[in-house]
């Protein structure tokens, strides 16, 4: 019995909790990409850098708040700085839209042109981010590190395995849930949200109904900027902030959005968790878990790891490529291939 409990704690500690948290971060990122796709109809390659920008501003504000001794311990100061980061990112995306994308929208350019243009935006934004905070690794989580440490857990329960829950993990989960809840409430129950869905569904008819496309586009960018800053900051709190990481995150995020069905918000969330759980589950060494489950009667040779952790990102690309080839509309249905 104790072995089974230990196995459960082990699985929770190394698979379920990390994958859930990572899934939340991916889902938030994928929601932003999917939203832009459903309203502006292109794959925004600059989304990773948008996340980096929001996080960078949040970090800078966090640093100055720390400098003047303002904080909300046990919560990280970054939460206090977040609104500023979000506002700055909204400003950035709206300015980009005004100066870059609007021109192509008026010309009714092909989606591929938008995509190439978004690469230019990606370059500019990544330069901007590195200009703002440099290229170094930054840890900016100053809150209480653990809700419960592995040692405390062991002492409390008397089990051999420990369960550690970091504050940042709980924050990620609650913020993501609140945020997704708000987003769906917005899309389902407000007039503007419904207009956004209508625009995404049938642009021409939305125009005939007198819906102002510029307004919808603005709201899409504002929402995407909020989601991007949140996703980036939560990821940075949970791990650390390195500008180049966001470029790497772009692919798992696209993978999540496409796997779930591009343009479908529910799909983006499902995709985020699918990718996160696959990445963690495929690169976790199961040796100890199996030993517990076998009630110590059998101890397997080797680590029982399906893939080396180096291939963590490759897992998401593999899932992405497989879904693109077999069911390009995604598991929950979305844009045509």
């Amino acid at each position: 019995m104790e072995d089974l409990l230990n196995a459960a704690v082990l699985a929770a500690n190394y698979i379920v909790i990390p994958a859930t948290v990572y899934g939340c971060q991916l889902a938030l990122g994928a929601l932003g990409v999917t939203l832009i796709y459903s309203v502006l109809r292109f794959s925004n390659f600059a989304h990773g850098e948008t996340m980096a920008f929001g996080t960078a501003v949040t970090i800078l504000v966090t640093l100055s708040l720390q400098g003047i001794g303002v904080g909300i311990f046990p919560l990280p100061t970054a939460l206090l700085a977040l609104p500023v980061g979000i506002l700055a990112t909204i400003g950035l995306t709206l300015a980009t839209d005004r100066w870059v994308y609007r021109f192509y929208r008026r010309k009714r350019s092909e989606p591929i042109i938008f995509l190439i243009v978004s690469i230019g935006v990606m370059f500019v934004m990544s330069g901007l981010v590195r200009f703002l905070v440099g290229t170094d690794d930054r840890v900016f989580d100053d809150g209480m590190r653990f809700l419960i440490t592995a040692r405390d857990f062991k002492e409390l329960t008397g089990l051999g395995e420990g369960l550690a829950i970091r504050t940042s993990q709980l924050i990620t989960l609650t913020t993501a849930l609140t945020c997704v809840g708000l987003l769906f409430w917005f899309l389902e129950h407000t007039k503007t949200g419904k207009m956004m869905r209508a625009f995404s569904d049938n642009e021409d008819l939305a125009l005939l109904s007198g819906i102002d496309p510029e307004k919808i586009v603005r709201i899409a960018w504002i929402t995407a900027a909020c989601l991007a800053t949140l996703a980036g900051t939560l990821y940075g709190l949970d791990k650390s902030f390195k500008p180049f990481v966001f470029q790497q995150l772009l692919l798992p995020i696209f993978a999540a959005a496409i796997v779930g069905g591009f343009g479908n918000p529910l799909g983006a969330i499902a995709g985020g968790f699918l990718i996160a759980f696959s990445e963690v589950a495929l690169t976790y060494p199961y040796k100890r878990l199996i030993t517990y489950l076998a009630q110590s009667s059998w101890e397997p040779e080797g680590l029982l790891q399906l893939m080396s952790t180096d291939y963590k990102y490759a897992v998401s690309f593999l899932i992405l490529v497989m879904v693109l080839l077999v069911r390009p509309t995604g598991i929950l249905g979305g844009a045509k291939a």
Partner: protein
């Protein structure tokens, strides 16, 4: 101004820029830039074949360049005989499994009727089986290989053949990968194709970074042979010392310039050959057919053109050219560093080259390769210089000034991004637009 005039003018400007660097900084720097400009031009030609000729979006240039680089290791590195001995049976076995799985796949797909999706799934499944069984079979052998003097070897090594052969093998390796990828991914919508190829190229580079037995991973393969003499040998050679005297240059710096000139010579030959091939292909009936397919797929398929086949061929050709550039780059560097492959530098920068030069125009791609690489390298000193001047007013020790100067290197990203945005907005056809209707 007509097309030929502007072409001459733009290439003269490029030459002038390089010469300015030669006079202001040093000829050594100018030649280093020139060599990488030449390689960039080749890489841009590869992407141009795919995007410019046929409208295919390949965001996997990085992967093909890395495969070309791997070819240099496989061809030219000295074989690690102990490693071969330790693993020859497993390698044989793996080859047998691969061949068996491939033939099984072909037999099954010929015998039974499949939908396209299930065929693709089956192909994926077959590849999966091959990969998994190879990993299991090779597992012990890999551990053995990787334990052989890991600080120096720890990998299979290459065939020890002349390095220039890799300029043939690299393209072939990249073409093979291009065929596989094209076969499965080319039916996709453009943006999905872009994301899929980007993902696949990341997988390729991840493999190269982690499969130490093949590529030494992040430990890098250094000391690859060169097709041109080493500086140190030149400095000792009598004829070279004479030559240095004649041009009245110090022997050591002249030797490095001489080596770079040799490389430049080789690269120019390759580029000239490629230009001749691509230009004649573009202006042949075949090239016209490709563009017809690009501009109107429906009409072209109505005329009986097998668009899939055309696209696959183009994709393979372009991949081969990118692979060639990758092989040239590793040859120039003399080392293979899988960690250096970043999509920003090896995929997106190349795209900027093609679009700036003019999609569909080979001369444009070469020009774009030169221009973009030049500014990619020179943006840093130029940016630092510019910031230095602009911030003089705010005081020598100002924190802002220090911060800006410290991060001046990031200017290149902003410059490149703005360059792409400006070109897309104000001259979407590029510096040298494709000459529409003037072919033949």
């Amino acid at each position: 101004m007509n097309y030929l005039h502007s072409r001459t003018l733009l290439f003269s400007v490029t030459a002038l820029l390089l010469m300015t660097v030669g006079f202001v900084q040093s000829w050594n720097v100018a030649l280093t830039i020139l060599n990488l400009c030449l390689i960039s031009a080749v890489m841009a030609l590869g992407v141009n074949i795919q995007w410019g000729y046929a409208g295919l979006v390949n965001f996997g240039a990085m992967g093909f360049a890395a495969l070309g680089g791997l070819a240099v290791v496989l061809i030219a590195a000295a074989p690690v005989e102990e490693a071969w001995r330790a693993s020859s049976t497993q390698i044989m076995f793996c080859s047998v499994v691969t061949i068996a799985a491939a033939s099984a796949y072909f037999v099954v797909t010929r015998l039974f009727v499949f939908t396209l999706a299930s065929k693709k799934a089956l192909a994926f499944f077959t590849i999966g089986i091959v990969v998994v069984s190879s990993i299991t079979l090779m597992g012990p052998a890999i551990r053995k290989i990787e334990s052989i003097d890991p600080s120096l070897y720890g990998y299979l090594g290459g065939l020890g053949l002349p390095v220039l052969l890799s300029w043939i093998a690299g393209p072939m390796l990249a073409a093979g990968a291009g065929w596989l990828i094209g076969k499965v991914a080319l039916g996709l919508r453009l943006d999905y194709l872009a994301i899929a190829t980007l993902g696949i190229s990341e997988i390729v580079v991840t493999l190269l970074k982690n499969e130490d037995w093949l590529s030494r991973g992040v430990k890098n393969v250094v000391g690859l042979p060169r097709p041109v003499p080493f500086e140190i040998d030149l400095q000792r050679a009598e004829w070279f010392q004479h030559l240095a005297e004649i041009v009245s240059q110090p022997v050591d710096s002249f030797s490095s310039i001489f080596v770079k000139l040799c490389f430049a010579g080789l690269f120019v030959v390759v580029l000239a050959l490629l230009m001749w091939l691509t230009e004649s292909a573009l202006h042949s009936p075949w090239g016209r057919m490709i563009r017809a397919v690009r501009d109107n797929e429906v009409a072209a398929s109505a005329m009986g053109k097998d668009i899939k086949k055309v696209h696959l061929r183009i994709f393979v050709l372009g991949s081969a050219v990118i692979g060639l550039a990758g092989a040239m780059l590793v040859t120039l560097d003399g080392q293979f560093t899988p960690g250096a492959y970043q999509p920003l530098r090896f995929t997106f920068l190349v795209w900027i080259m093609v679009i700036l030069g003019g999609s569909g125009n080979n001369w444009g791609s070469v020009l774009g390769g030169f221009f973009v690489w030049f500014f990619w390298v020179e943006a840093e000193p130029l940016g630092a210089w510019l910031i230095d001047i602009l911030t003089l007013g705010i005081g020598e020790e100002s924190a802002l000034r220090q911060h800006l100067i410290h991060n001046a290197a990031q200017m290149r990203l902003i410059v490149m991004g703005l360059l792409l945005l400006f070109v897309m907005r104000f001259m979407p056809l590029g510096l040298l637009p494709e000459k529409i209707g003037k072919v033949s």
